[in-house]
Symmetry: D2
Subunit: 353 residues, 4 copies
């Protein structure tokens, strides 16, 4: 690659925006050109506009960058960018992303456009072939020079990655109970008084997202549109006292009822285009299988594959469905900014960005 792509981050002051900054330090293909956020932050130095909560220090060259307003005109004025990462709040994201997509490739963590039929809901290891045709369709439909591609919800991403290698066994049903980390709620997010010595058995709209997104992700592009995969998902979502790393208790019904070892093999052998293409952020193993009886655990497994691998454990037969297992992923890396970066890498590798 001759020179690095310049990127803008919209929603740069939020938890996901900060993680973008952290993960893009030293990235071989991308460099941060513009930090943009809502009006309230625009015009301030980044260090004053954000409450930096990453455990690393805020890079000095970004600390003094002036935050641009999150609109095309302001971003253009702030710099020449090649592509755009967005992690704007849900209500803002919709129209702003469309405005940018008219000119730029937009990689979005927001839910606004996820379920639109010409917008990819992308996990690069799972459905990379959705990207090019839906981008083409989108440009045709909407007259854009750029495009929008979206990352699924954090708890969906890690589950869907484990479902992909199960498709070969005839996946019919998925029941999941999640134990989700605090960082999933952003910052300031969950008040400490709500979660100390406690679990909160409710996360707004989370169950609905898990129940609808997986079928699109695992669907098949038939030349015209994505035909949703034909299995049923039901979810029960909980917030637990963990900083990072969603843990999920998954029960699946597999028509071919394979052995536990077959399942473990399928998880272990799973590779996707990011691995073939050797994308910079691709983990060697998208899924890591742990043999210990008490794994995966958030504190020990969330940084597997630098936070880009999903860890699976406790695979066993189930007397009602056919199998059950636990899966864990880092919700703000694989389930957050790492997802967006990997999607952008895939788009670059495919000549789309």
């Amino acid at each position: 690659m001759s020179s690095k792509r310049k990127v803008a981050i919209l929603g740069a002051t939020g938890a996901i925006g900060q993680r973008y900054i952290q993960l893009l330090q030293g990235h071989p293909w991308f460099e941060i050109e513009v930090l943009a956020a809502s009006e309230r932050s625009a015009g301030k130095k980044y260090k004053n506009a954000c409450n930096w909560t990453m455990e690393c220090d805020l890079p000095k060259e970004l600390a003094d960058m002036t935050v641009a307003d999150a609109n095309v005109e302001a971003v253009k004025k702030a710099g020449n960018v090649d592509l755009v990462f967005t992690s704007l709040p849900g209500d803002l994201a919709g129209p702003v992303e469309e405005e940018f997509a008219a000119e730029y490739p937009v990689f979005s963590k927001a839910s606004a456009h996820r379920m639109e039929s010409d917008v990819p809901l992308l996990i690069p290891e799972v459905n990379p072939n959705h990207l090019a045709p839906l981008v083409a369709l989108q440009r045709k439909n909407r007259g854009w020079k750029g495009f929008i591609t979206t990352d699924p919800n954090c708890s969906t991403i890690q589950m869907a990655m484990t479902l992909k290698p199960l498709m070969q066994f005839g996946l019919q049903q998925v029941m999941v109970t999640t134990m989700q980390a605090l960082s999933g709620a952003g910052y300031p997010g969950v008040p400490s008084l709500d979660i100390i010595d406690n679990v909160v058995p409710y996360i707004g709209k989370e169950e609905e997202k898990m129940e609808s997104e997986s079928n699109k992700i695992l669907g098949i592009f038939d030349g015209k549109t994505v035909q949703n995969a034909n299995f049923v998902v039901t979810a029960s979502c909980n917030r637990v006292h963990v900083k990072d790393g969603h843990l999920e208790s998954v029960f699946v019904k597999l028509h071919k009822n394979p052995s536990v070892e077959d399942l473990a093999e399928a998880f272990r052998n799973f590779k996707g285009e990011p691995q073939t293409l050797k994308l910079p952020s691709a983990p060697e193993n998208p899924i890591v299988v742990r043999e210990e009886a008490n794994r995966p655990q958030p504190r020990f497994d969330r940084y597997a594959g630098k936070g880009m691998s999903v860890t699976v454990g406790r695979i066993r037969k189930d007397p009602i469905m056919t199998h059950r297992y636990m899966c864990l992923g880092h919700n703000t890396i694989r389930g957050g900014s790492g997802a967006g970066i990997l999607s952008a890498e895939l788009a670059v590798a495919k000549g789309l960005a």
Copy 2:
């Protein structure tokens, strides 16, 4: 009742033993006569033998009581007792409880005898009619003057209480993922380094207990033996960073597929013999139904009914099974010493102790 029954607590120094002491303070029917524990503690003053971890102060009159060795001879020497509560460690419990049962009514929190066909696995609101006939059978089989009755595993008790009112709808399948409190592992139990910023997705033998005990509890005594109830249970058990209160995400398949409101009604209206008999430890409502979207929560609901009620919330339809809901109970009260005390109260009320 003319005068109080005198009780011995075997395993008095452990977490459940300490909770027995706390709950029996001022009990109208029972008073503590003997505190017994393993050899290591026997002969010491109770305050020196135990690491008191209850949040109330250790009652002064017990602090200086000498701990007896947990065998019949030593307990007899220490006092005249009418009945015995045991919370001995699993491996010790089996033979010791049998020795005591030859002479005393034994109310056991240990798993040793739970699945024996002539031993009640008792939840007073759920299967009170198992008690008298199995005690009779036991005495006949074993030639005992006393008897053993057992409390189910803590995570089973609260779930089984919610399953009882669902039996009328044709309960076929139960899938449960638990988020269990630290006190369930006793003291010292879970090291803080294992659970800070973490979830542990494994509790030894817990899933097996949940999967086998419910069918016996909800079974029907047919005049000769308990015929196990005919539904399938599958469980996935996790330890979370909560002091007390197990939270469970339950999915059920009900043949008659009632409405959500029918389910809520069934939970709300559920009463059992302890309520009819007005047993001292019986909560007014065995099951409390919360309407809020984010309840039950351990810190807010564990003391419902003084820790003896199970709280249910988030009742909703399920696209794979038929329904799902959350339930929560205090694992060392309703799921621990409170269970034993209520069982003893039932036995007294029925003239068995």
Copy 3:
């Protein structure tokens, strides 16, 4: 007392306001007549205006009460009240409390008026004799029919209570490092992401309050004004991962250098007017001394004396100052709403309210 005083709570939706509601349930002298809060909440039903975070249920009769705007006119319209508890945010509190003091006895948890020379900074066990003369002075100065009396900052109250019995030994210097609970920051207060696996070594303005308030509290009314006590306080304040209960590591220099046992005796024997007058919220022992090497601890000692006692432990000699000890109090009971209620009880007992 012929009939109960009717009270208004200003700032009723906040954490301290909620604790007032909890503590006033069944109070023998006071009953809640009006719940008032800022404009944003006014006009709503209380249950909709507040995020109830107490572990008990919100009393039903209050749940549907309409919240009044926190001004005299609105409160009058809402009911006839005899006295007013305020826990308004700092910036609002100043003028609103003055408006109410023109007509009502005002018991304030806000810092706005604490350091004014004609306003009592009251701990009923410590400086009850400041109340009547400063109220008289205030009325004379300001032409009010009512008055304002203030409670000290939560971390000051518990420390000042332990300093009172040390005055007899010639208290010269106090150095304190605090470990303060999350509830001290109100709700939503401290974000969980800030405090999980962490300590925050800074609480805005807390050190200044601890360093200035104690001298006024322990000062002597000389007939005209309160002459501040003549010792120096220095503080270092930290937020730790505890729900309720501030723990303080205190080092003191005592001119007379008493023995450790003399200190323990002085703490144990300390009583004040609330004990003599048998005020309803007065604990039997304002200070509880624990002998164990590892006490006081927040989870075990915060509810001593129903949250109204301060627990002291680890009293020992110090090679730089003369003594050191740990003290602990419940920051939202003794350090919060319980303080206001006890002050109001004192005022009633003295015929001032």
Copy 4:
């Protein structure tokens, strides 16, 4: 350096032993040759003998290494080693370390020999010149070919590092209240039930260590012996709910009463021999000064300088002493195995090992 020194780790299965393994991965000077532990573990594969609690995976080549018994004969049989790291439990450490010191350089984390007059109590940045003369003295006194050098207690190390640059201002008194991390108690260490929603204001023998060790560390070798530094330390030690990173609230009396900025300068400019010698584990800045009002914080600052820097913040004047500040260090890196490794690097650089 022609080839790597081969090292043995005694106490390899414990928390500090595991951290040694982690920190020695890829070390340029040292490689692990023997893992030794108590009898209970000897003969087992390392992976079966230890409960691995580091967040990284156990290196494969060590997982299957057979654990040697912690005595010279067994260690010799297991491999040729050049030097020995020990983190044996206190009671075992004394005689075992002496046995090894007869032949090997021993770098000890145990307290057994710390206060002996011919044993260095070493912090390489603080008192590197104690090492060579005390080793010589030791060999002369005891007839050893090897030697013992000890690391101070974890909470002492970080404080003593901050005291070193204060010596120039005439350090007279130090008062410290600590908030110490759970990992300081080893594994299993603190039970979760003791520390959830709690602080424990007591750590056995910790205060005594802090009060005695600093004077030796900061003492001056006068040609014959170390003359203790002439200041007084008093400590109050607490365990808080933090995984790693001790936070300390320090008050100091400095005879010359410098300005706050002079103190900050002195901290910032502090360098020692490890920096001059460019030892592999030496951080660029032994002390990092943070300007933010709310730092240092354990979760954000413990990995400063890869866990080898101490972070200082909140430097301010004090009305009783002369100054106060907060300091924080990683207790199992700078305060644990990192300390031992840096000491060994210093010994190698000085030709002693």
